[in-house]
Amino acid sequence: MAFLHVQKTTNRLKGLKNNRSLIPYLLLAPGLIWLSIFFIFPILQLGATSTKTPAGEIGFFEQTYRFQNYIDAFLASKEQFYRSFLYATLATILALAIAYPLAYAIAFKSGRYKNILLVMVIAPFFTSFLLRTIAWKQILGEEGPVVSALRAVSIIGDTTSITATPFAVVTGLTYNFLPFMTLPLYASLERIDPRTMEAAGDLYANGLTTFRKVTLPLSMPGVVAGTLLTFIPAAGDYINAAILGDPKSKMLGNVIDAYYFRIVDYPTAAALSFMLMAAILILVTFYIRRAGTEELV
């Protein structure tokens, strides 16, 4: 795609004929260099670290190609593995349920407020992810407005909390990644030609049928992109569990953090990072195969 586009552009630029064949590579170079320095090299390092074993002193490891590290690491943390994917799945489903109507309303029903609404979706990004999560901890805290109000009307008891629960972690994940779901959904909904929906109506489809047969299938690229953009970071997240969770709702990100900084067991941390990456890749590949990606990009 990019290559063809570049070719077309260069055809129009008459003065650059001689170097035409080089230009695509030159344009790709910054990205490739960036990736090799900041992605490929660290990944190789991480891979090398993951098979090392302790060398007698804390922080010292030697390369022994011990692939058993992966099995040990998985067995020690399978609970958090399972939890990470469970929470990420729940958050993705919740985010989809919230974001779809939102994106639909912005795309089709907002009229002149469209831009304001879009800015409101993006606005949380002006504040740091960490601060927003800490803010939720205050809002939902023991003496915060929500718990006080719910207790006053006896919806929850005096000993029931909202924070320091799995519920708070999933809610935090949903909130934090909601814009990543909303924007791709909006982009693909907005692209739908309204005449297709009118045509469905002309052919005697009711609103629901139109949505099911026309709007939803045409918005699938947005659904696929949004779920991926939500699920992948949510599965690897550790801030929400660290701030909003309790010891029984920690995720894999917290495990990796603990191995790196507290236990100083770099090989286990590296092995877990790799397994998380692999697990996400496998799931995503499977998902994309099922959902199709023709219109994804």
Partner: protein, 410 residues
Amino acid sequence: MTNNSSNTNNSSNSKKSKLNKLAADNSIPSEIKNLISKSLSRRTVLAGVGGAGAALALASCSSGSGGGGGQLRWANWPEYLDLADDGISFPTLTAFIEQTGIDVKYSEVINDNDEFNAPVQPKLQANKDIGYDIVTLTDWMTARWARLGYLQDLDEAALPNKVNILDSLLNPTFDPGRKKTMTYQGIMGGFGWNKEKIPGGIKTVDQLFAPANKGKVEVVSEMRDTIGIILQYQGVDIAKPFTEDQFMNAIDFMTGKISDGFIRQVKGNDYVQDLFNGDAVAVIGWSGDIFQLALENDGKFDFAIPESGGTISGDNFMIPMTSSKATEASTLMNYYYDPVVAATAAAYINYVTPVKGAQEAMESIDPELAKSEFIFPSASTLSRLKIFRDLTVAEETSFQTAFQEASGNI
């Protein structure tokens, strides 16, 4: 060592007026008054952000390489030294530079022992300059450095004030007789609680885990403090060799309190915020934190050492073997072991002062602070605080793993 950055705003006013009064007091020697007036509104300037630290970090980049030349390079934790109005100069340190002519480059670069250690350890291993002549790490990391031979002897000729170190701190297992290290500040581990919620206070682990506190108890993520207090509750002397079984009993106790829903979270320094906003009513925490929180909130919080025993740990001055400034570094330690200087710094830092005579010196700076058991624990208080013993490499890994597992982190 803990970082109090988020609590500094509220305390500045009350402390400022107190310091203003002191600055106007004629009975105080002019030298000390000068130091005090320089400290005024130091926290207002800081405004809860590590502004000074950032500025210092930037400043320290300029002459980072080449062994530091004539400078004595000191790596310390943020907000761990008295800071002046301008937010960038440190009155006691400035006075030291004026007195001795030793130029000091002060860098607030230590936020976490492991984080600081990770990049410098390979350099120490290769005997290459790490960029600092004096560092201030916590006991257990100090022990690791001592074990690995990364420390050089203090220049005792330049350190006559060494005699001022508190007796209880003179013989840690990692450095008997303090040949290579000197305590910078002491940190007490014990119980903190909200007096409005728990008017009766907390003296024992059983009271900490009283049914009424269920789900509102937090413990610090520093293994040696949390497990150290539980171990003592179980009758184990943490300063003497204890067995792995004994340690694991304490871990089991903690795991039980988590699965029963008593412990809300195992947290780093931000347990202070949870006490403040009501998410926690009782904690295993650190004296300096609770002391400041109480000061900011009209005494709403209190701290006590467990009846079965609390913990005391320290951050230590030490000289990496890669430094060529042992004499200058020892001179700086000597200066901070001067009782007046120690008291002046303690009025800002609020942690346990390791210097004999500082309490008397504090009388003329702030008589109220001089009475504080948090800064100047009495002999009977000190006898109830224990230093967690050294751990072997194998123990360090297996204990820390068990602690992280109990905390739900792995």
